[in-house]
């Protein structure tokens, strides 16, 4: 069988399969997405949505198949891929002892960008955490923790956003804010993969693909 030509500017899943324990979650998954596209992964609890997202990031080794980013296996060309990736999982990845501002700055520097404090404060204010930048993250509410984690998205230069249930615990205002962010990111040529139980209400003309597991 001749090899498929690879997509040089996006994400490609090739014959992807996942087995956790003895259960086969999905198999034979083929998909390609390019700049400006949103992929929404749906499915009942335990269908393997989080496993798929972790596989996309290279955290989980595929039982079979490959995940390619710009034509290269994500588990081989790790450093180049991670430069282009933001992954936000179930946990908000905040250190309880640090303030939201410190958490944000550490996350940005880990991602390879050099943040200045003013931009980080502005991003937190946009996320609705004005006046909360300097309190310990431990006293934030669930929704505020999620906002603090999401505040990282508009900063930095990652092309691919992989978001696991990003709308969980968010109120209406924060949901609208996040939708706005996703839309602008898609318009500037970014890619977004997310899981969500609700439909993602983006405006017309935004390429949205659904994948049901």
């Amino acid at each position: 069988m001749p090899a498929l030509p690879t997509l040089n500017d996006g994400l490609e899943l090739r014959d992807l399969a996942c087995v956790r324990g003895r259960r086969s979650l999905f198999r034979g998954l083929n998909l390609r997405m390019g700049p400006g596209q949103l992929l929404r992964v749906t499915g009942p609890n335990g269908a393997g949505k989080t496993s798929l997202l972790r596989m996309l990031c290279g955290l989980l080794a595929p039982t079979q198949g490959q995940v390619l980013w710009q034509g290269q296996d994500v588990r081989r060309a790790r450093e180049a891929f991670h430069q282009q990736l933001i992954y936000l999982g179930h946990a908000a990845a905040l250190k309880d002892e640090l303030t939201p501002l410190e958490n944000l700055q550490v996350a940005l520097r880990l991602g390879g960008s050099a943040p200045d404090e003013a931009a980080a404060r502005l991003a937190l204010a946009d996320a609705g955490l004005r006046g909360r930048e300097m309190v310990p993250s431990r006293i934030l509410s669930q929704g505020q923790r999620r906002r603090a984690a999401l505040a990282r998205l508009p900063l930095g230069q990652a092309l691919l956003w992989v978001l696991d249930e990003p709308f969980n615990a968010l109120d209406t205002a924060a949901t609208a804010w996040l939708l706005g962010l996703i839309e602008t990111h898609l318009k500037r040529g970014g890619l977004v993969v997310l899981t969500s139980h609700q439909a993602v209400a983006l405006s017309e003309g935004v390429a949205q693909v659904s994948l049901a597991l």
Binding site: A61, H90, A91, L94, E97, V106, L110, W177, T184, G189
Partner: protein
């Protein structure tokens, strides 16, 4: 209400690995400072365990002098086990460990930065207090200095070897006991040469050979332990 995002540049300026390493190092030190109760508990444990021996044995100077180096070293080993359990466990629980794995900076270097911060917040304290504890065992001035120096070379070694065990057991139930079972046997050579250096000093022999061996082990561990711990973390998080 959303602000326009900056355009995506294919070659964005990057603060590079150095920025990420410094960020992780400073973050862990800052957390250690803000959780003084946890940071201090290993030190208090060390002081108490070491002090129990002279109380139990009584004022038999000859005996105390002979067992002093070994007791201090064993207590340092146990105290560092106590602190190691949390090296990766906290990061695993709150999701920041995944972010370390997804950083463009090589994971082994990040592990090295974390281990360095961990040593500064635990091992160094043991080193600094050890000359004081040596007094309880009637160790002479020279032997006390050698003890302090041997711990200075040995405790980073314990942290590095322990990092492998902490990475292997991250996310497991009962990780603390398993960690000790895995790591303590591996630390035996460090204990032998560390305590041996002090005994040699007491006997009036040269300590160069012991220190050279400790130094060689430290260099080897600096090179290999972060790689092993990084590989273990990737497996543990699958």
């Amino acid at each position: 209400m959303s602000r326009p995002l900056p355009t995506l540049e294919p070659t964005a300026p990057s603060s590079g690995s150095w920025g990420a390493l410094r960020a992780v190092f400073q973050r862990d030190l800052r957390i250690a400072l803000r959780r003084r109760a946890d940071t201090g508990s290993a030190l208090v444990f060390f002081v108490i365990v070491v002090s129990l021996f002279p109380l139990g044995v009584g004022p038999q100077f000859e005996l105390l002098r002979r067992m002093g180096p070994g007791v201090v070293w064993v207590a340092a080993l146990l105290a560092s086990m106590l602190a190691l359990g949390r090296l990766f466990a906290d990061d695993h629980a709150d999701g920041t460990l995944e972010q370390l794995l997804l950083s463009p900076t090589p994971l082994a270097l990040l592990v090295l930065a974390k281990t360095a911060a961990h040593w500064l917040a635990s091992g160094v304290l043991l080193v600094l207090i050890s000359p004081l504890l040596a007094l309880q065992f009637d160790l002479g001035q020279e032997a006390a200095w050698v003890l302090c120096l041997s711990l200075l070379l040995g405790t980073p070694l314990l942290s590095l070897i322990g990092a492998i065990g902490a990475a292997l057991t991250v996310g497991l139930r009962g990780a603390g006991v398993l960690l000790s079972l895995l790591v303590l046997p591996l630390c035996a050579p460090v204990l032998i040469f560390g305590a041996g250096a002090v005994e040699a000093a007491q006997a009036g022999l040269g300590v160069g050979a012991h220190f050279s061996l400790l130094g060689a082990m430290l260099l080897l561990a600096l090179l290999l332990a972060p790689l092993a711990a990084a590989a273990a973390l990737r497996i543990a998080l699958e």
